[in-house]
């Protein structure tokens, strides 16, 4: 399945629910709604044509205006790779956990919960992952984060 076939297939399969973003990269990049996320993940996992069996990475992005959670997925069987993301405002920083679809999402989600403060619903083990256990200084990967001993690079 080449790139155009994959894009057409996904857009036909989920009409109006996902949109293709123009990134100029080889792998297609889709944006979708937060509410549709879990359903979409389940469908691409169980779809015979796709069989997306591997979650490469979950990354969160703080753009300065909104928060994004980017999912990179792949299929080893059908040799497919694509990414999709959900965008949310700061006030509603919350996504549905996809660990029921790909078990590997567990640690990635703990990481975004801890570093970005994005709440993950229905996650079975939201505990500290990278930071010290007694950390109480908020979410350090946010753009507006600050701490007493945090020194920003001076503008040159």
């Amino acid at each position: 399945m080449n790139r155009d076939n994959l894009i057409n297939y996904l857009l036909e399969k989920h009409p109006g629910k996902i949109e293709l973003l123009d990134t100029g990269k080889v792998e297609p990049f889709f944006a979708l709604d937060k509410e549709y996320l879990l359903e979409f993940c389940r469908s691409i996992k169980t779809d015979e044509t796709l069989t997306i069996d591997f979650l490469c990475n979950i990354a969160a992005v703080d753009t300065g205006e909104k928060l994004e959670v980017v999912y990179s997925v792949a299929s080893a069987k059908n040799r497919i790779r694509f990414d999709f993301k959900v965008v949310m405002p700061y006030e509603e920083a919350e996504v549905e956990s996809v660990q029921t679809v790909w078990a590997g999402a567990n640690w990635h989600e703990r990481e975004i919960w801890e570093l970005f403060g994005i709440n993950v619903r229905n996650h079975d083990n939201l505990t500290r992952f990278l930071l010290p256990d007694d950390w109480n200084q908020g979410n350090p990967m946010r753009k507006n984060w600050d701490a007493p001993d945090f020194i920003r690079m001076p503008e040159l």
């Binding site: 930071l131 010290p132 200084q137 984060w145 945090f150 020194i151 920003r152 001076p154």
Partner: protein, 168 residues
């Protein structure tokens, strides 16, 4: 240690006692300085530099320095590599488990003052002097083995100046 610390005080009062204590000082400090066993403790790239210094080309062994994998048998802890805030309590624990007299060398920019992670880092401890008392600082990123040997020689000079009474 209690006896050794009190011994010079009593010895000084005997005739010729001063000579004995200075000789004792010399013997003890010389033997201590030339058998600095260091703890195997490397957290980042400086550890590779430390290994290179321990290997045959630079050879720590000619300073009488042998690595020990246990804090109970080491006199020196070379903090080689970045110390993050999560690692800091572990470093402190190892330091606390070492027997006196004990020494610390801060190797590389990260342990001296945060180094390349001084700016824009939420995780790195900015200098290990916040955690343990440091005897010798070695700047560099990473310091070459020559720098590390220089630092160890500096520490040896420091130890050779010590008197028995200084041992805590």
């Amino acid at each position: 240690m209690g006896l050794i610390r009190k011994l010079p005080v009593y010895l000084e009062k005997f005739p010729g006692g001063g000579l004995v204590t200075t000789s004792l000082d010399y013997v003890f400090s010389q033997s201590q300085a030339s058998s600095l066993w260091y703890l195997l403790f490397g957290t980042a790239c400086c550890a590779i530099e430390l290994m290179a210094t321990g290997a045959s080309r630079y050879d720590f062994d000619r300073l009488g320095m042998i690595f020990r994998a246990s804090p109970r048998q080491s006199d020196l802890i070379i903090a080689a590599g970045t110390i993050t805030k999560k690692m800091a309590p572990r470093l402190r624990l190892l330091y606390d488990q070492m027997a006196e007299p004990r020494y610390v060398i801060a190797m590389g920019g990260c342990t001296v003052k945060g180094g390349p992670f001084y700016y824009d880092s939420y995780a790195v401890e900015k200098g290990i002097n916040h955690i343990v008392p440091v005897d010798v600082y070695i700047p560099g990123c990473p310091p070459r083995p020559e720098s590390l040997l220089e630092g160890c020689l500096t520490l040896q000079k420091k130890i050779k100046r010590l008197k028995i009474g200084d041992w805590s």
